[in-house]
Amino acid sequence: MRILLVEDDDLLADGIVTTLSLGGFTVDWVNSGEHALHSLSCEQFDLCILDIGLPKISGFQVLKRLRGATNMIPVLMLTARDQVADKVKGLDYGADDYLLKPFDVEELKARIRALVRRSHGDRQPELIICESATSTLRIQPDSHQVFDDDQEIKLSPKEFSLIHELAIHRNRILSKNQLTELIYGWAEEVDSNAIEVHIHNLRKKLGAGVIETVRGVGYRIS
């Protein structure tokens, strides 16, 4: 799951990036409203964590412009202001949730998961990858686990991220580049065939028919 963090404080941003990476999220960080708007207009993210107190263009302005450009990405606002008026303003501008500094990392992760679930119209904490007469393959995003019926299938963090992305974008074809962005972000150096390797390993662990290859375009789960 790829997240854009918009936070002007380096130390705090660093802490959030670390904690979310440890939680299996792919996090890209920008420190200004301008950069945030640019990144959100050209690349694909599952969620945006937006600090309100940004220099020049405030978080509220970023949100307003984003929604003005009909970008409906889930936005979690982060702020030091606890006044009801500020919360109302943020939510009215189109924020999906609101977290007050200082926050607990577990609460941050839980809210991110809930927002992403909601944005995909799925209120269940579990995602079903495929159902057959004999077995049900399901993902538990909270615990980063994949089960075949009750049998847990061990996956590496990147393999989990890849199957999770395909599952939440069910029936949509995701290109190799899109998948690379979603699971690696900007920070990591990636081999050109990394995605193929992960797909190969996933097919071995989950069964060949789960992930479908659309020639010349990408991959999808139907």
Binding site: L11, T19, L22, D82, P102
Partner: protein
């Protein structure tokens, strides 16, 4: 220099003393001057009487015959000797007649006429003009006229005591009204001073009746010129105090906001260390650091609430709030707090108790009271929440507070116990501030009793939803 403790008293006493002094001096002067004038009048009367006698006697034809004794034989001596004693005034005479004397001698010292008074008859001592003649009992003021042509000595006298009595009486009558008027003057002065000082009283009443947070200006136009300067200085003082008060409040609020980001940084990095570390020692230390951070976060939150209360931020509009429902919610919330895991919260609440108030403020108030009771309670003890009538009591089990500490629990940064669970020292201060706004009454007292053979001691926090 005399220290003035009351302007009104000072003015009144000074004016009364001055008026009394002036009045007394002038009264004495009037008295003496009246006495002198009356004495002179009496003397003139004596002289005039002697002249009338002289004229009457010398006009008698017999005198021309130089046989005065024969001439005066025809006078009815009894009439002159008659004494009138009935009453002061009558058509027949006056009982004071014998206090006025007249005597007429001839050249040889023979007494020709007298009106039979007690005036000593001494021809040898006679000398013309005024003189005082004293006998054993009485003093007389006399005037003697010597008629050289006929060799007559005419003596007219008045009793000195009668003269003094009359003189004093007349003098008193002229000064007494002034003294009677003096108390009236003092009362009127008092009223005038009272009226004159009334603007001062109005200012002091207006200041006294003010809310302690009211720093608005007084209307200078409604005060007299002498007070305008003072009122304007007072207003400028209010202005300065109000500005510095605002600055201080903004500073607290800004500081509390600014502290949130560094606190977030510390907390998130500590939580990250905790997540990646495998060393139990490191985890233990990080947990302790996290407790410190949590305490700091709590304090910042409390400071923010307090600065908002100080700023007089209007609580949300009053609406009916079910206190019981709110209590249940907060008891649940507090029970779920890991910090109070050893505390068992028991409640004795009716089904419903509704009051009309600000829900946000009441929530902060009750949460703080409950938090406070749990924070300072003995480990693994019970906290009771009891609502009876319009009175909510929260009782915990903890060491008793000394009287001196008990008197200061509502002070900011005051700490009651040397407990391991340290709070921000602001909780009760916040509660009191809210109670003041919502017009509730809050009291805290020690409880020491024996319950079924076991000693029960702790603190009772009592919140009355009415003003005492």
């Amino acid at each position: 220099m005399l220290r003035i403790t009351s302007i009104r008293k000072f003015l009144l006493i000074a004016i009364v003393i001055l008026i009394s002094l002036g009045w007394t001096i002038s009264a004495i002067m009037i008295f003496h001057s009246s006495q002198e004038q009356i004495e002179e009048l009496f003397d003139a009367e004596l002289a005039q009487m002697s002249r009338i006698l002289q004229a009457l006697i010398t006009s008698n034809r017999a005198l021309h015959t130089n046989d005065l004794s024969n001439a005066l034989e025809y006078l009815d001596k009894d009439v002159l000797a008659q004494e009138f004693t009935h009453k002061e005034y009558s058509v027949l005479g006056h009982k004071y007649e014998k206090k006025l004397a007249f005597l007429v001698w001839n050249r040889q010292g023979q007494l020709l006429i007298e009106n039979h008074t007690q005036l000593p008859q001494s021809f040898e001592k006679l000398q013309p003009g005024f003189q005082i003649i004293t006998s054993e009992m009485l003093a007389w003021r006399s005037f003697t006229l010597h008629d050289e042509r006929f060799g007559l000595w005419i003596q007219v006298a008045q009793r000195e005591d009668v003269r003094t009595e009359l003189t004093n009486e007349i003098a008193w009558h002229s000064t007494l009204p002034s003294f009677l008027f003096l108390p009236v003057l003092m009362i009127v002065s008092g009223l005038i001073i009272r009226r004159g000082l009334s603007p001062l009283r109005i200012i002091s009443n207006e200041l006294k009746d003010r809310d302690y947070e009211n720093l608005t200006s007084l209307v200078a136009a409604s005060y007299p010129v002498e007070l305008k300067q003072m009122v304007s200085e007072l207003n400028s003082l209010f202005q300065r105090v109000s500005e510095s008060y605002q600055r201080e409040r903004r500073f607290t609020a800004d500081a509390a906001h600014e502290l949130r980001t560094p606190l977030s940084i510390s907390k998130i990095h500590l939580q990250n260390i905790r997540q990646v570390s495998t060393s139990p020692k490191v985890i233990e230390f990080v947990d302790k650091a996290l407790i410190g951070i949590e305490r700091l976060i709590h304090m910042v939150q409390q400071l923010l609430i307090l600065s908002r209360l100080d700023a007089g931020v209007e609580p949300d509009p009053e609406a009916p709030v079910d206190v019981v429902k709110l209590c249940h919610e907060l008891i649940q919330e507090t029970s779920d707090t890991p910090l109070f895991s050893g505390i068992y919260i028991q409640s004795r609440l009716p089904d419903r108790f509704e009051i009309c108030t600000s829900e946000t403020a009441l929530r902060i108030l009750l949460r703080n009271l409950l938090d406070n009771a749990c924070r300072y309670a003995n480990r693994d003890s019970q906290v009771e929440v009891i609502l009876e009538g319009a009175e909510l009591t929260i009782r915990n089990q903890c060491p008793l507070l000394e009287d001196e500490v008990l008197g200061k629990v509502f002070d900011r940064f005051a700490r009651g116990h040397n407990s391991q669970q340290q709070g921000s020292g602001l909780g009760l201060s916040i509660c009191q501030q809210i109670c003041r706004q919502l017009k509730f009454t809050l009291s805290i007292q020690n409880r020491e009793q024996t319950n079924q053979g076991k000693s029960d001691e702790g603190i009772d926090t009592c919140l009355r939803f009415t003003q005492s």
